[in-house]
Symmetry: C2
Subunit: 218 residues, 2 copies
């Protein structure tokens, strides 16, 4: 009995979320803001990658920083002198369109070109929750092990760009980063996959180019 | 309106889960099986740690291997010639007592002393879901960054033993493992925290001792 009620409520939440996501995209489009939902596990390097993009890209950038608890990541972004809204989800393991809608109210959209939305560190929960962004970038790290892609196929089906980060550590953790690339391509043959190391700079320009390409195609 | 229904269903699920967890523990106690719920993020090294414990401990061990999808981890455990039940959660980001109850039916409890239950790779979702195990061990890795503990306090409030793994990589990833220890102690002053590296063997004997102590105190 619980099960049926649960499924029904879950369905209602999904429908409501999709409606709100469409509303969010309209709000963003009104101010010509291109939005990127950044998903990935704990320690994949989402925050550091967004920080590097803020400093390197020729756009005015804003960030919504999602976390279960604490405004730690939001504080890191503020140091780059960009508008930041921190969102705490409490016990929830993903952002949803409703939370993002609230954050959009506090974001000076007329002053920015790109909005990065850093999701909660998780490869499972964000899958079904469209936030209204124009692009989803998944960031994974070789330190997660080279089985992390095949274990979490849904997030890769649903992403537009995949960054395999910290490849400088691949041999130290005994991981084959090519296997990770192949696993992503097997799940989603059309998707662009970029190997990066923020430490050495490898692949970073390619990430910028890939996002630029999405923006110009938008 | 969705919100209220959601909270009510959530409450019902929690009550049902706690009842089933107590039932699971009775089933385990009947056959004198000591059970350890192993939680931690993707790539923290839960599977490798359990594999090493299977080989090193003087107990007959069984494993329930939880994963969103695939029986990859279950396959790894089977190579150690122990009884294994693989549980796929589909889209759910944690095991629950109901899933574990089903797995217990397929586990030859009369033949084992310790049952390791490897939860889905996640530091957020498993918090509220008691599985009926006697002990919860949280495994985190320095590669998750030294802010991972303060970002996920609830899982450490609720664990009995914390393993900080892959400390051999701490300097390569620029992480202060002592900060991680202190953050855990700040959240849960009574808890035992052990730094480990499965590569060098550091701390492994301590983990065995800690589990042994729990078993003898049980």
């Amino acid at each position: 009995m619980h099960k049926i009620a649960d499924v029904e409520v879950q369905h209602d939440i999904m429908v409501a979320n999709r409606k709100l996501a469409r509303k969010n995209q309209k709000i963003l489009d009104k101010d010509q803001v291109f939005s990127v939902d950044v998903v990935g596990a704990i320690g994949s390097g989402k925050t550091s990658l967004i920080e590097a993009l803020i400093d390197a890209m020729n756009y005015k950038i804003g960030v919504i920083a999602g976390d279960v608890i604490s405004k730690y990541d939001a504080g890191r972004f503020e140091k780059h002198n960009v508008p930041v809204v921190g969102l705490n989800t409490g016990k929830e393991c993903h952002l949803d369109a409703h939370l993002v809608e609230h954050a959009l109210h506090d974001m000076p959209l007329e002053e920015i070109d790109i909005l990065f939305i850093e999701n909660v560190g998780n490869l499972i929960c964000p899958v079904d929750f469209d936030l209204g962004s124009h692009m989803r970038m998944a960031v994974i790290s070789v330190t997660e092990g080279d089985d992390t892609v095949e274990k979490h196929p849904l997030i890769f089906q649903d992403s537009d760009l995949v960054v395999i980060n910290k490849v400088d550590l691949a041999s130290a953790v005994g991981v084959d980063s090519d296997k990770m690339v192949n696993d992503v391509k097997h799940i989603n043959p059309e998707i662009q996959v970029i190997k990066t190391s923020l430490k050495t700079g490898l692949g970073f320009d390619e990430v910028i180019k890939a996002i630029d390409l999405y923006i110009s195609g938008h």
